[in-house]
């Protein structure tokens, strides 16, 4: 599945919820079921710190593809990260670098795109791309 196919799948899933309450209840479910990050990866270098919540993001390379793991102390943020990982994980650095993320806006969580809210989802995306860039440089 390409990154865009994965995004479209998420958009389709969210289109089934008629109100925001259900969307957030789903995000909370997703957040609660996100695989925890390796404790060893919870180091300052992997931390994206903001005013609101903390996010740890780690990446590893497997057969030319980048695999992400992440965690946050806020459950809704964790839910959003789990979507982000679902979309971005398991692709080549080039695919990740070229990806344009439109699903957050389309599933009605646009407010989480602002630079300070949700600890800057934008900074998470930026960090994901930086990892991709690093792996690309290495290969």
């Amino acid at each position: 599945m390409t990154i865009n196919e994965a995004q479209d799948r998420v958009i389709e899933e969210f289109s089934e919820f008629s109100d925001w309450m259900d969307k957030y209840a789903y995000l909370i479910d997703l957040g609660n079921s996100l695989d925890p990050i390796d404790e060893k990866a919870k180091i300052p270098q992997n931390l994206i710190e903001g005013c609101q919540s903390r996010v740890w993001l780690d990446a590893a390379e497997q057969e030319g593809k980048v695999v992400f793991t992440a965690e946050s102390d806020a459950v809704i943020v964790k839910g959003i990260i789990s979507l982000l990982i679902r979309v971005m994980s398991g692709h080549t650095p080039d695919e990740i670098l070229e990806a344009e993320l439109y699903f957050i806006d389309q599933i009605g969580l646009k407010e989480h795109l602002s630079p300070t809210r949700a600890n800057g989802l934008l900074s998470m995306v930026k960090q994901i791309k930086l990892y991709a860039l690093a792996f690309k440089a290495k290969s």
Partner: protein, 407 residues
């Protein structure tokens, strides 16, 4: 609720309060961050720009004189509001933060040397911490912190012990922006003065909630911001006793603050102009004066009493929710409630309350050391103004209850 105030009429003065967010009526409980503005304040800004805009203190022409007069009248309004002895003791700044930075710089450079101590408390927001740390880096002073107890009240015994011959200044919040604690500043000032130590009071959270009399308090410096007291953004006040302000060097250099300038030497203007370099915010000052008159129409005592009822009601109702933890339960408390429910993250709670139309603050409230002391990352903070109602508190309580059930 039992009050002499006509809250419905007051709300009608604030157009923003009748708007909706996400198709729900807005419940605005982020007043400790900034207050909403009554129509008269916004109209005052409009009036200055439409009718009397001209740079002040410079022109001989009619408009400049009108504008100058309005600006200086506003200074007198502020003077009367906090009962300062002289209008030249009122310095207009950009806000509380700039006022504290001014003192940290001008007072710090003049009176503080390596090893000297500045005393603050464990409940200061960053504006009353960082300027002193900058001074520490420049001059090698020592920053000492007065602890507080589990109710969020200052440990006055510790305060007494921390005062030393090396203490050059005590800088303390009148009201904690996180816990709502009203600090015993009159007592603090009296004790500091017994050792000839001046005191700066950060009144950012106080001036819109209680009558403040700087002479009765005997404060050496008292600072606050316009935007938290129904006034405009970008203007604030530094009150300083004349005897101190006379001794302090200017903070910024430029126009307005000079008497004469040659390339060899500049002499400075008299107070208050010595500290007001550049074109002052003469629009903001007039609007601030209007905001003060607006509050005075009702009386700070009546405003404070009504807000206290809101606080008590909200505390009682919120405590009915399972797992509710309120941070700050001082006997003397202003209308701020910081809370968490069980282990639900403040960001999760805040996000969902927002969707229900309720504006609260979440996070560390620019008081990270305080959060550290409490052993938490942040709280949800609901802070009330006198335009808020019991019904809005009911909406908050219902929303918190609904949200906590989602986790």
């Amino acid at each position: 609720m039992d009050t002499t105030l006509d809250i419905a009429a007051i709300r009608a003065d604030f157009p923003i309060l009748s708007r909706t967010v996400y198709d729900r009526p807005l419940v605005y409980f982020d007043n400790a961050a900034t207050s909403q503005k009554p129509r008269c304040v916004v109209e005052a800004i409009e009036k200055v720009y439409y009718n009397q805009n001209a740079n002040i203190h410079r022109g001989v022409h009619y408009l400049s004189q009108v504008a100058t007069e309005a600006h200086e009248e506003a200074r007198q309004t502020v003077q009367a509001f906090i009962n300062a002895a002289e209008s030249r003791e009122i310095i207009f700044t950009r806000g509380t933060t700039e006022a504290i930075n001014l003192i940290a710089t001008s007072f710090g450079e003049t009176f503080c040397n390596e090893g000297d101590e500045i005393l603050i408390t464990g409940m200061e927001h960053h504006a009353n911490i960082v300027p002193w740390q900058l001074l520490r880096d420049r001059k090698g002073i020592v920053l000492k912190v007065v602890p507080f107890n589990e109710r969020g009240e200052l440990d006055m015994e510790a305060f007494s012990k921390l005062l030393s011959p090396k203490t050059k200044l005590v800088s303390v919040a009148h009201i904690s922006n996180v816990m709502g604690t009203v600090n015993p500043v009159a007592k603090i000032i009296a004790e500091a003065h017994a050792h000839n130590i001046p005191v700066l009071v950060d009144g950012a959270q106080a001036v819109s909630h209680m009558p403040v009399d700087v002479q009765a308090l005997d404060a050496d410096f008292y600072v606050f911001s316009g935007h938290k007291m129904y006034g405009p953004n970008g203007i604030g006040v530094l009150y300083g006793k004349e005897k101190w302000l006379e001794q302090l060097p200017p903070y910024h250099g430029g126009g307005e603050m000079i008497a004469t300038v040659t390339y060899e030497k500049t002499t400075y203007a008299e107070l208050p102009f010595k500290f007001e370099a550049g074109t002052p915010d003469y629009v903001g000052s007039v609007a601030l004066g209007e905001a003060i008159r607006y509050m005075q129409k009702f009386g700070l005592k009546a405003i404070g009493d009504y807000e206290h009822q809101l606080l008590q009601y909200a505390t009682e109702q919120l405590m009915k929710i399972d797992g509710m933890r309120i941070f700050g339960t001082a006997a003397e408390k202003a209308s701020v409630i910081s809370f968490l429910v069980r282990d639900i993250h403040h960001f999760d709670m805040g996000t969902l309350l927002d969707k229900l139309g309720i504006a609260v603050r979440t996070g560390h409230h620019c008081a990270m050391p305080l959060m550290h002391t409490l052993g938490i990352e942040g709280t949800i903070r609901a802070s009330f103004a006198f335009y808020n109602t019991k019904e809005e508190i009911d909406a908050l309580v219902a929303a918190v209850d609904r949200v906590q059930k989602m986790f």
